[in-house]
């Protein structure tokens, strides 16, 4: 009797483990494989412009290419920062501006997959964003900070210098998703003068690192 219970329990536990591990594997596999499919869509976008979906039923498509030469990072940025785009790569938040326009462009990525490298970005590192029309924008990391997303934040600015914000969840090695903290890397156009981050951010619940 005890023996039977035990074997059932073992089977149930192993099934659960298998299911969870397969689920985790799927998430990482999607994240790792998607760029290969994106590459073709990106090439088509660069050649013809417009929207080219990486696979026919995709609800997102590449809109830019993000590179960090010092870390060997080369990723496609997808349209939209919703969960279904972020599963395949970093996404350009529609609330911000397009990269290169006046204002702040916001690119978000999963801390477990694509944007894990954000923790290695340090001030003065250079980033580049390539747009479908061939423009290559150069940025320089200005600062990183941890933001409590439970605090109200003003929407990304739609004017001023063309800046870039890279957003991911924080802390990097937390296990549970859905935490309130965000790690925000702020980058300014390379060549522009460095601006120290304002003390205003402290009043808004932003902690300078």
């Amino acid at each position: 009797m005890f023996e039977r219970c035990r074997s059932w329990l073992l089977i149930a536990l192993c099934t659960l483990a298998l299911k969870e591990l397969a689920g985790a594997g799927l998430i990482y596999a999607k994240a790792a494989l998607a760029p290969h499919l994106m590459a073709r869509a990106w090439a088509a976008t660069q050649a013809e412009g417009g929207v080219h979906k990486p696979w026919p039923w995709a609800d997102t498509w590449p809109v830019a290419r993000l590179r960090v030469p010092q870390l060997g990072i080369d990723q496609f940025v997808l349209a939209g920062a919703s969960g279904n785009a972020l599963a395949f790569g970093p996404g350009l938040d529609a609330a911000g501006v397009e990269p290169g326009q006046g204002g702040t462009a916001v690119i978000a990525g999963h801390r477990d997959t694509h944007f894990r490298f954000l923790q290695h970005l340090v001030p003065a590192m250079s980033l580049s964003v390539e747009l479908p029309d061939g423009r290559l924008l150069q940025y320089r990391v200005a600062e990183s900070r941890v933001v409590d997303s439970r605090q109200p934040v003003a929407a990304p600015s739609h004017f001023g210098p063309a800046e870039l914000e890279l957003v991911t969840c924080y802390p990097f090695d937390a296990i549970r998703p859905g935490g309130p903290l965000r790690y925000v890397v702020h980058a300014q156009p390379a060549g522009a003068e460095w601006q120290a981050f304002s003390p205003l951010s402290a009043a808004q619940g932003v902690i300078p690192l």
């Binding site: 073992l10 192993c14 998430i27 972020l86 477990d112 600015s157 802390p171 549970r176």
Partner: protein, 725 residues
């Protein structure tokens, strides 16, 4: 192997089985145990550092504001409110007391933004310091501000209450001494809303942060300077800079406590006492979101919070239902003030059953999935939408537009409500997630765009599901009024603290009505009722004949949906005339008329508050002309006249109370003490949300390894005698 080669097949199978068992129960658990130990070892220090990080979030424990001058964190001014509600008939006179406490060692200027009902007629202000009481006066807004600023600079105690939106006010209290308490009392009148058999009185206590659309006006450097030095400039310190679409953004974006509130240790405590005299026998009295204890004396009820003060993180909603048949079909309340007589008329047209042959219709659902809807709101919205889809009939056509920064329609155009389309719609609704900004304009433009359907003669109904958390309300009302055409717009308010003014005015401009879902359990009843009322015949062309000339507001009565009474406030030009007031309407193609005798002796039946309600209705009526293109200067003059005569708050008038004696030496520094509001219960905090950027990958991997580890333990814990065998 004792079975030898004769039973090779069987023995091979047994070998495989043993190998399988070895793999399943020995090797795999051992491997995962090792993996798990490694994972735990790497994870624990990181988790520890995360906790440390969390503690550094300003205000994570106690609310403290960063002081820019001294570079230290200072405790802020705290606030607690007491609501004393006296309801007589359908009029409620509410006494709101706000007690501000300076907990610092410096002089503070308390700055508190608070919501009130959108139809509140604020008619009295007093400030109490110790035993001294100062009565406030209504002044023109600019004049009041100057008076206040002078008093503040001179070191006198002063209070200034300004209207930022019809349902959002701000209170500034100058020169609160260290450790001192200042009490500000406001009195306002509001009317209980009757709908579908019950009265409801709704008092908001906090607000959902409004999304501010548009392009920032000030350069960022200038905005920072303004935010750093709020007191000298006399402006407000919101979290949003002014934009081209919302020039007063800082005044309507007050800070919120970063931590959620709780009833056991409220951040902004609320005391509540209600005296209800409905004037008719009641079948039911209840508060929707609070626990109240009830004492009854005949037809009078006394209600109190059952267990002490509560958190100001949700609306107070009181409902009472008259005994069937006890509700009069018509009533008039009167009041004489300074030789003038004011009246408030309520008439309920008869209710007809829905028409037999329902006309086919086109229903467009517009659902807000912006960042402010995060938390319970999006769940309520999904539930409401899913239930609404079930109300569609096969002959109807429908579409769903979800919007945040951009509009995402489900179908390119309206489609028939076939089972296939409804299934697609349910799938779409299930996957709605909140995030991003609240750009309502493109969504409304698209929803109200006349399509090919307009030519088919279908009834067009737009059902707008939102929390109304936007800063550019007026522009949206104008848009609705201009683009409405033959469509009708109905609003469904969502969340613990929606913007009721937006709900009511948008529905009014859209010639529909507004309903509220404050709790996911209410969604089913609310949506069923919404569709039943939309389908029932209207009372159209309502006209009211008074026995003599009156000044009536609203001057044009809108079409009335089922269960919705006609409410009109009037000022009699002379004394109260004898005679009858007659109401007529076109009800489902038939003429309907009703007459009501005016009370002969107005002196005996004085109803406090009728005059204020009339003046408030007039102000609302005048301001509504703005959407029709009336020049603001003309409106301003007329509003000023009414507001000053009746001592009411309005967009152009403010209450100011100034104590004569000087309490602060003008040389002692004065700090701005912002009183944050509590975040609406269960809601996400912000109008712009950072995207969710974590996968469930690590959690899944962890759980998987954990399950394997437990499996290993279970496997190891076998009985000792089995080992011996």
């Amino acid at each position: 192997m004792q079975y030898g080669y004769t039973q090779q097949g069987m023995s091979e199978a047994a070998n495989w089985q043993r190998l399988g068992q070895w793999f399943c129960f020995r090797a795999l658990p051992a491997a995962t145990g090792l993996l798990l130990a490694l994972l735990l070892a790497t994870v624990s220090p990181v988790r520890a550092s995360a906790v440390v990080e969390g503690n550094e979030v300003p205000g994570a424990g106690q609310m403290r504001w960063h002081d820019q001058v001294s570079g230290s964190y200072q405790a802020a001014v705290t606030q607690q409110s007491r609501l004393d509600v006296r309801i007589a008939g359908m009029l409620a006179v509410v006494e709101l007391e706000q007690v501000f406490q300076n907990t610092t060692q410096a002089w503070q200027e308390g700055i508190y933004s608070f919501p009130l009902p959108e139809d509140a007629a604020v008619r009295h202000l007093e400030m109490q310091v110790g035993e001294r009481v100062v009565i406030g006066k209504v002044r023109e807004r600019e004049e009041a501000k100057v008076l206040y600023q002078q008093a503040r600079a001179a070191g006198k105690k002063a209070a200034l209450v300004e209207q930022q939106r019809p349902n959002l006010f701000s209170n500034r209290i100058a020169n609160i001494a260290p450790g001192e308490q200042v009490t500000v009392r406001l009195q306002y009148v509001q009317t209980a809303k009757y709908s579908a058999g019950r009265f409801a009185l709704r008092i908001p206590t906090t607000l959902t942060p409004r999304y501010i659309p548009g392009v920032s006006r000030a350069a960022p450097a200038a905005a920072e300077v303004a935010a750093l030095a709020p007191a000298p400039s006399g402006e407000y310190t919101g979290w949003a800079p002014p934009t081209d679409q919302v020039p007063d953004a800082p005044a309507i974006t007050p800070y919120l406590y970063p931590q959620p509130g709780s009833d056991s240790a409220p951040l902004n405590p609320l005391h509540l006492a209600v005296e209800l005299d409905a004037g008719m026998p009641l079948a039911e009295v209840q508060a929707l979101y609070h626990e109240l204890s009830l004492a009854r004396d005949g037809q009078r009820y006394k209600l109190q919070l059952a267990s002490g003060p509560v958190e100001m993180d949700r609306d107070v909603v009181l409902q009472w239902r008259p005994v069937t048949g006890a509700m009069p079909r018509a009533a008039v309340f009167t009041q004489q003030v300074a030789g003038e007589t004011f009246g408030l008329l309520m008439v309920l047209p008869p209710e007809l059953a829905p028409q037999q042959a329902n006309l086919p219709r086109e229903v467009v659902f517009v659902v807000d999935v912006s960042g402010s809807m995060a938390g319970v709101s999006i769940k309520q919205a999904r539930e409401a939408l899913a239930l609404a889809l079930r109300q569609l009939r096969p002959a109807d056509r429908f579409n769903i537009l979800a919007f945040d920064d951009s509009v995402r329609p489900l179908f390119a155009g309206a489609v028939p409500a076939t089972r296939h389309h409804l299934q697609q719609a349910s799938e779409f609704v299930r996957h709605l997630e909140a995030g991003g900004g609240t750009e309502m304009r493109p969504a409304l433009e698209r929803a109200l765009a006349p399509g090919a359907e307009a030519e088919r003669g279908l009834l067009r109904q737009v059902i707008f599901i939102t929390d109304g958390a936007v800063g550019n309300e007026q522009a949206l009302f104008e848009l609705i009024q201009q683009r409405l055409g033959a469509s009708r717009l109905f609003t469904v308010g969502i969340g613990s603290a929606p913007n009721h003014w937006f709900m009511q005015r948008a529905a009014q401009a859209g010639r529909g009505f507004s309903v509220q879902v404050g709790d996911i359990g209410e969604a089913a009843a609310v949506m069923t009722e919404l569709f039943a009322r939309i389908a029932a015949p209207l009372a159209a062309d309502v006209s009211v004949q008074w026995p003599q000339a009156v000044e009536a507001w609203p001057d044009r009565v809108p079409d009335l949906y089922r269960g919705q009474p006609l409410v009109q406030a009037v000022r009699f030009v002379g004394a109260l005339p004898a005679g009858e007031v007659s109401v007529s309407a076109n009800l489902a193609g038939e003429h309907w008329q009703s007459a009501l005798a005016l009370p002969a002796q107005p002196g005996n039946t004085q109803h406090d508050g009728v005059a204020s309600v009339w003046a408030r209705s007039k102000i609302a009526g005048l301001l509504a002309l703005k959407t029709a293109g009336e020049p603001e200067q003309r409106i301003r003059e007329q509003v000023l006249e009414v507001a000053l005569a009746h001592q009411l708050l309005s967009p152009y008038t403010s209450f100011v109370a100034i104590e004569e004696r000087v309490s602060r030496e003008p040389t002692a520094p004065l700090r701005p003490g912002i009183v944050p509001n509590t975040r609406p219960r269960g809601q996400g905090p912000q109008p712009y949300a950072y995207p969710n950027t974590a996968t469930t990958g690590p959690a899944k991997a962890f759980l998987g390894c954990f399950a394997l580890f437990i499996a290993l333990l279970v496997h190891v814990m076998r009985r000792p005698e089995q080992d011996r065998v």
